[in-house]
Structure formats: structure tokens, C-alpha cells
């Protein structure tokens, strides 16, 4: 095939341009491809992203629930911010952190569809980590306390007991906040 531009040399390069879903192809020789190449630097990409997937899923769920029609699903409302689940399906945005708890039944399958999973395995905030560390420490100390009592080392047992009480106090204070 001859180059579509100079119509003299053999075409060796095919340049495909995709813009707004329209595909155009040009078969060019090496020399012309070099000249043409720079004119093709604007390409629009198919915008596949989670936001689009989310709104698609929510729309589908909305249609589905309307088709069921006759029996309306009781309106669920967030106990903290008052957002209804219906509001969420319209905007795709949740109202507050408690929404995740109150809409948990509906959100879990949605999250699984969006992310492939529904449980977090990454970082834990320092405050929670501190608490978890303390809970674990108390568990360990309780074991040591039992051992000390069995060995009748009451002096050591008293020390451990004080330490446990202190840690539990700190945890209670944190929970009260």
C-alpha cells in the first residue's frame, strides 16, 4: 500500500487517532509519519473510573427498586446526620462517618463491587493503634498475674494488678471522651 499522504513511498506506519470515540486511521510512509506525528498529540482517553461506575451502579439500583414498585423499601436514615439512603443514591456522597454504620447492609455489597473487597487491611490511626496496643498489653498482664498468683509471688502479683488497673483507667478515660 502506498502512503496516503505523499502517495509515492510504501506505507509502513499506521497512525490511529481516537478522539471522542471517533477512530481515524492513516497509513503513512516513515518520512510522512514523522511530519504528521506531532499533529496527533491530542488524544482523548476513555474515562473509565470508579466515580462513573458508582453512579452507574446507583442508577441501576434505583431503577431496580422502582421496578419492584408496589412494596416501597422502608426509608433508612442515618441516626447522626439524618441523610437518607435515598439521598445517597442521588448524590453518591455519604453524610458522615456514622452513615457507614447505619447503611452497612446496603454499602457492603456496593463496596465489594467498587473495590473488589469490603474490608480495610492498611494503616490504623495512631489513637486506635494505641488503644489496641493497650488492650493487648492488658491481656498479656492478666496472664502474668495468674502465673504470679499460682507461684504465690504476691508482691509481683500486686505490682501487675496495679499496672492493669492503671491501663484500664486510661482506656476508660479514652472511651469516655
Amino acid at each position: 500500500m502506498l502512503c496516503q499522504f505523499c502517495k509515492k513511498k510504501e506505507a509502513t506506519v499506521t497512525i490511529t487517532q481516537i478522539a471522542n470515540g471517533e477512530k481515524t486511521e492513516l497509513c503513512l510512509c516513515h518520512d510522512c509519519a514523522g511530519i504528521f506525528g506531532d499533529k496527533l498529540s491530542i488524544i482523548s482517553f476513555p474515562q473509565f473510573n470508579l466515580e462513573n461506575v458508582l453512579s452507574g451502579l446507583l442508577k441501576a439500583m434505583d431503577i431496580h427498586s422502582r421496578e419492584k414498585g408496589a412494596v416501597p423499601i422502608p426509608e433508612i436514615k442515618c441516626s447522626n446526620c439524618g441523610l437518607t439512603y435515598n439521598d445517597f443514591t442521588q448524590t453518591g456522597k455519604l453524610g458522615c462517618s456514622i452513615c457507614y454504620h447505619d447503611f452497612s447492609e446496603q454499602l457492603t455489597p456496593l463496596l465489594r463491587r467498587l473495590h473488589g473487597k469490603s474490608e480495610h487491611i492498611g494503616k490504623v490511626p495512631p489513637q486506635k493503634k494505641e488503644k489496641l496496643d493497650k488492650v493487648n498489653k492488658i491481656k498479656q498482664l492478666k496472664k502474668e498475674l495468674e502465673e504470679a498468683v499460682i507461684k504465690e509471688d504476691y508482691e509481683k502479683a500486686a505490682k501487675i494488678r496495679d499496672e492493669i488497673l492503671k491501663l484500664e483507667g486510661v482506656l476508660k478515660e479514652k472511651n469516655a471522651k
Partner: protein, 360 residues
């Protein structure tokens, strides 16, 4: 912590005059990877997310931020600016600087803020879509280093406030369920003229979308691809650890870089004369034009950048090209000029600035 309204003018003036670390053009693989960025979305337990928050809630976050900043020596060199105190033009300037998102600049609710450091590596948006959006930005491919730094900042804040976090389930809770889990978006900005020229990009993009990564434009989500620059970032934020997300992105980036390098070698061996001609023509236009649009500037800068990356031309260097790219943007231009300019006036001012920068 400098957060005085009186300081606002000084603050902005400093920003206009200074250049961000990420623009220096000397990071690892900077001949293709312009910058790397990680952002974390964080919220305070029980307080409604900004879009549904009352003015009292928003003010609460505002005061909380001030307290955290004042208490921690970690934040003493950071600057804080409240967007209500800025004009639309000044807010647009912060977008052009990549310190805030377009959404943050245009949203109407009060008490929106931005915290940043002098090098512009750190930026924390307050009351954006989430209560806090922490961002860390460096030049070249440096995701691991960024994670170390941003993790520290996040801990520093997380020790003082109670983050919305669900231990056994969704992790960090965010306004949009597409951010929940790690709340992390990691991204790299790439210059890919070779792959775009040969249209080899679509295959790669299809492949990365299958494993949960996506392409965005120059200013992030929903923005255009300009000057052969595009951003690749993770979509999936839940069920993967932060390290896994970063590691995957780093590997994807290295593969794309290798492909781009291969195409560049091919281009150089087959079209050396044409490439040299294009690069020098771009240089000629940029150093002589009297009127130039923003779109033409981006296109020519991409060619010039390509020339530097291929070793065809050595002046201006990548750092200078990055700076020209930023200050050629509309709001930056007008703040530099110290007055509002019409689109035509901007085209003249832009051409003048570019000539000055290139001849220096």
C-alpha cells in the same frame, strides 16, 4: 505558624516568586516522570462531611485545625490560608500551583483552608470534600519517600484528633465510597510524547484500568490531557495496603517509562532530522513570539521538553520548562503582572514572560 490575615499578601507574594520542589526537574527518571504525589482523605468522627456540614461544624473543623497546628512543633513552618479571604483569581492561582483542587477553589461553603510549606511539598486542604485532604508532592518517581513523609504528617494529626475510622470494616471513612479504606490516591505525572505520537498508549491504558489504575488530566480528575502530560493513579482504595498501592503504581510507571524510552530510541534513529527541526522550531517560536495562547504554549513546551529529554537541546533545562509551564497559566500570569488582564492581554504578557525566561 503564620496565619494572620495581614500576612495574606506577603504569603501570596512569596508563592508567586517561589517555585515548588516538584518543578525542579531533577528527581529520579525525571526525563519522563515529572512528579509523584500521594494524597490521604481524612475525616473527624461523627462530624458531618463538609458538603452536609452546618456552618458550626465547618467552624469546628477550622478551630480544630488551628489547635492542631499551634500545638505541634511539627507544623511550625507551615503556612495557613483561608480561601474565603482570597479572590477567585487568587484561588485559581493556588489550583495552578497544584496546592488545591479545582473543586476546593470553586466550592461555596465557608471555612475552606489550605496549609502548605515553603517548598510546596506539603499541602493540606481543609473542608474540601473531606475534612482533611493531605497531599505530598515531589519531583520524579519518589512514591516510597513520599509515603514515609506523608505517613508521619498523618500520624502527627491522628494523635491529636479522632479520625473517622472503622476498625474491623471499611478503614478510613470518606465522603465518597470510592475513597474509603486507605483514603489514599497515589499518582504520577508522566510526559509521554513518544507513546502518544505512535498511539501505543491506548493498549497500556486498557491494561492498567483492568488492575484498578486510571488516567487523569493535568489538574487531576476530569481535566484535560495537555502537552502530552497525563497522570496515572490508583482507583481502588479498599482491601489493599498503602504499600501495595504504591508498589503497584511504581511498577506500572517503570513499565510505561521503559516503553516510552523504547519508542524514543526508535524515533531518534528514524526521524532524527524531523525531531530536531520540531524542537528548534518550538524553541524559535517560544523565544520570539509576541502573542501566544496557553494551549500553544503547552504544545510547544512539550516539544521543547522532548528536545531536552532526548539531548537535542540543553537550554532551558527541565526545571525552567516546568516553571514556564506554570507561570504561563492565566491566574499566575495576572498575579505576576499585578493586574487583571483580558485574554488578549494575557497572550501578550505570556509571550513576554516566556521570552524573558528563555533568554535568562
Amino acid at each position: 505558624m503564620q496565619n494572620n490575615i495581614d500576612n495574606k499578601k506577603v504569603l501570596l507574594q512569596n508563592l508567586v516568586e517561589s517555585s515548588a520542589e516538584w518543578t525542579n526537574g531533577i528527581g529520579p527518571l525525571s526525563e519522563i516522570v515529572i512528579s509523584s504525589r500521594i494524597r490521604l482523605a481524612r475525616n473527624i468522627e461523627s462530624i458531618p462531611f463538609p458538603a452536609r456540614a452546618s456552618e458550626v461544624d465547618l467552624k469546628y473543623i477550622y478551630n480544630l485545625t488551628k489547635q492542631v497546628m499551634e500545638k505541634s512543633p511539627f507544623f511550625k513552618d507551615l503556612r495557613l490560608v483561608w480561601l474565603d479571604e482570597l479572590s477567585p483569581l487568587e484561588r485559581q492561582f493556588l489550583v495552578e500551583k497544584h496546592l488545591i483542587s479545582i473543586y476546593h477553589a470553586r466550592e461555596k461553603h465557608p471555612y475552606r483552608g489550605c496549609i502548605f510549606n515553603q517548598k510546596e511539598t506539603i499541602s493540606i486542604m481543609i473542608n474540601e470534600e473531606d475534612h482533611f485532604r493531605i497531599q505530598y508532592l515531589l519531583s520524579g518517581l519518589q512514591l516510597t519517600k513520599i509515603w514515609e513523609s506523608i505517613n508521619q504528617i498523618d500520624d502527627e494529626i491522628g494523635k491529636k484528633v479522632t479520625y473517622a475510622f472503622s476498625e474491623k470494616k471499611e478503614g478510613y471513612l470518606t465522603s465518597c465510597p470510592t475513597n474509603v479504606g486507605t483514603g489514599m490516591r497515589a499518582s504520577v505525572m508522566l510526559h509521554l510524547p513518544g507513546l502518544i505520537k505512535f498511539n501505543r498508549l491506548n493498549d497500556i491504558l486498557e491494561a492498567i484500568s483492568k488492575i484498578g489504575y486510571v488516567v487523569r488530566g493535568f489538574y487531576g480528575e476530569g481535566t484535560e490531557v495537555m502537552g502530552n502530560l497525563l497522570q496515572i493513579s490508583n482507583q481502588i482504595t479498599l482491601g489493599l495496603s498503602e504499600e501495595e498501592i504504591i508498589d503497584n503504581l511504581e511498577k506500572i510507571t517503570q513499565q510505561i517509562v521503559a516503553q516510552e524510552q523504547k519508542v524514543r530510541r526508535e524515533l531518534l534513529s528514524k526521524f532524527k532530522n524531523q525531531l530536531e527541526d520540531q524542537v528548534w522550531r518550538a524553541y524559535g517560536t517560544l523565544s520570539n513570539a509576541r502573542i501566544i495562547s496557553s494551549a500553544e504554549t503547552m504544545e510547544l513546551l512539550s516539544k521543547l521538553r522532548f528536545g531536552v529529554e532526548l539531548g537535542i537541546i540543553s537550554h532551558p533545562d527541565l526545571g525552567a520548562i516546568n516553571q514556564i509551564m506554570l507561570l504561563a497559566q492565566p491566574a499566575y500570569l495576572q498575579l505576576l503582572a499585578g493586574k487583571d488582564l483580558s485574554p488578549f492581554g494575557r497572550d501578550i504578557q505570556r509571550a513576554r514572560l516566556i521570552r524573558d525566561k528563555i533568554s535568562n
